[in-house]
């Protein structure tokens, strides 16, 4: 995955002028359509996500932040958010180094090695009962709609204390996996990490029945009054969940093949073999 960062630059640099022209032309149009919606962020909570890889016997980690407002919420990976901030700085640096905006070859070692986080953002619109997911495959940005009624929770009588909250057990099947959630009535927010939610309280712990995917609540706090939740799909291509699934799968199983077939960029490896195929094993199997 480390090799993928420069792609952003390559595409950006090669079509730099084009993008400028594009922007000038389309700004009035975008403002008319306005794919933006705003809400005040009231609470912010975060989950540690652990994914056990049965092939490598390694546990991958990510951190998901949920910002919750009056009628909407957003969930994103804090690793990806931090990376984006760092990358913006490096992109600027690299631009200055190569200067003219025409350079098509970037040295990978100009970039830092960083941990990878999930690229998806999950927006929930409670008033519309709708989920909007934005995601990225290499440099292409996509979004799709999903329903909020994805779970049929069966509440059990088991209780447990998680992070100081009294929790009760609930179970549901969701797109190919069976999940156990521990939710607390002490926080009356019907939400959880990613698409998970719909219980009479916040999900504090969540795992699938093989315990390979685990979400654990690690923080819950009142948000700063000025914080906003902005649902913005400007610049994202509309797609369907199934189509995005196929694209991500194709990319995971043959990264080089996928990138070269897209025609935007060409990658030549000078050393290392960071592009070996991996098994595509997402949360949602169907």
């Amino acid at each position: 995955m480390k090799t993928l960062y420069p792609l952003v630059i390559i595409k950006y640099k090669s079509s730099y002028m084009l993008k400028k022209i594009f922007l000038v032309f389309f700004i009035p149009f975008i403002q008319n359509v306005s794919a933006q919606k705003q809400d005040t962020c009231l609470y912010r909570f975060s989950y540690l996500f652990e994914k056990y890889d049965s092939l490598t016997h390694k546990t991958g980690k990510d951190s998901f932040v949920v910002e919750s407002g009056y009628h909407s919420s957003v969930c994103y990976s804090s690793i990806t958010r931090n990376n984006d901030t760092i990358l913006a700085v490096y992109n600027k640096k690299v631009m200055e180094m190569y200067g003219d905006g025409k350079t098509k070859y970037i040295n990978l070692t100009d970039y830092p090695v960083m941990a990878q986080g999930s690229t998806q953002k999950v927006y929930k619109e409670m008033d519309k009962n709708e989920i909007v997911v934005t995601d990225k495959v290499v440099t292409d940005k996509f979004f799709y709609h999903d329903s909020m009624e994805l779970f049929t929770w069966q509440i059990a009588a088991d209780t447990q204390t998680v992070e100081g909250y009294s929790c009760q057990k609930a179970e549901s099947h969701f797109r190919g996996r069976d999940y156990t959630a521990w939710f607390t009535y002490q926080i009356p927010i019907s939400n959880g990490p990613l698409k998970f939610g719909g219980l009479p309280g916040l999900i504090c712990k969540l795992y699938d029945n093989t315990k390979r995917f685990t979400f654990s609540l690690i923080s819950f706090e009142k948000a700063n009054v000025k914080d906003l939740i902005v649902i913005d799909t400007t610049g994202f291509q509309k797609t369907t969940r199934k189509k995005l699934y196929m694209m991500r799968k194709a990319f995971f199983e043959n990264p080089m093949g996928y990138i070269n077939s897209q025609g935007n960029v060409n990658i030549t490896l000078t050393s290392g073999n960071n592009t070996s195929a991996r098994k595509y094993d997402p949360l949602e199997l169907e």
Binding site: L42, T159, P188, I189
Partner: protein
């Protein structure tokens, strides 16, 4: 002979009908949630639990028009019906375990 068959069929039907009524002795609790200004409140958690327990037996989340509906089967005589939402005071009602309608008016929590 044909005249004899009809009542027989009817009794069969009546027997199975009474059986289904017996099996599905479900309690349905429904109603509406408003705020102090009589505006509907959505995303309110409405839960049913035993009298002296926080253990949730069944639940519903109010829709955008403030309505909720809970169906459950229980042996209890009375139940605790609670409505809770962020930034609102929690409301509780001790109710008999029979199908009925209960509305709630929630007041905002004093900001700390």
């Amino acid at each position: 002979m044909k005249a004899m068959l009809l009542p027989k069929k009817f009794f069969f039907f009546a027997f199975f009908l009474s059986l289904t009524f017996y099996v599905h002795s479900q309690t349905v609790i429904s109603g509406k949630i408003n705020n102090d200004n009589k505006e509907p409140l959505s995303s309110v958690n409405i839960t049913v639990s035993k009298k002296n327990s926080s253990l949730i037996l069944a639940y519903s989340i109010s829709d955008k028009n403030g309505y909720y509906k809970i169906s459950l089967q229980t042996k209890e005589d009375s139940l605790l019906l609670s409505a809770s939402a962020l930034n609102y005071e929690r409301e509780e009602k001790l109710i008999p375990a029979i199908s009925s309608e209960y509305n709630f008016t929630l007041s905002p929590k004093p900001t700390s």
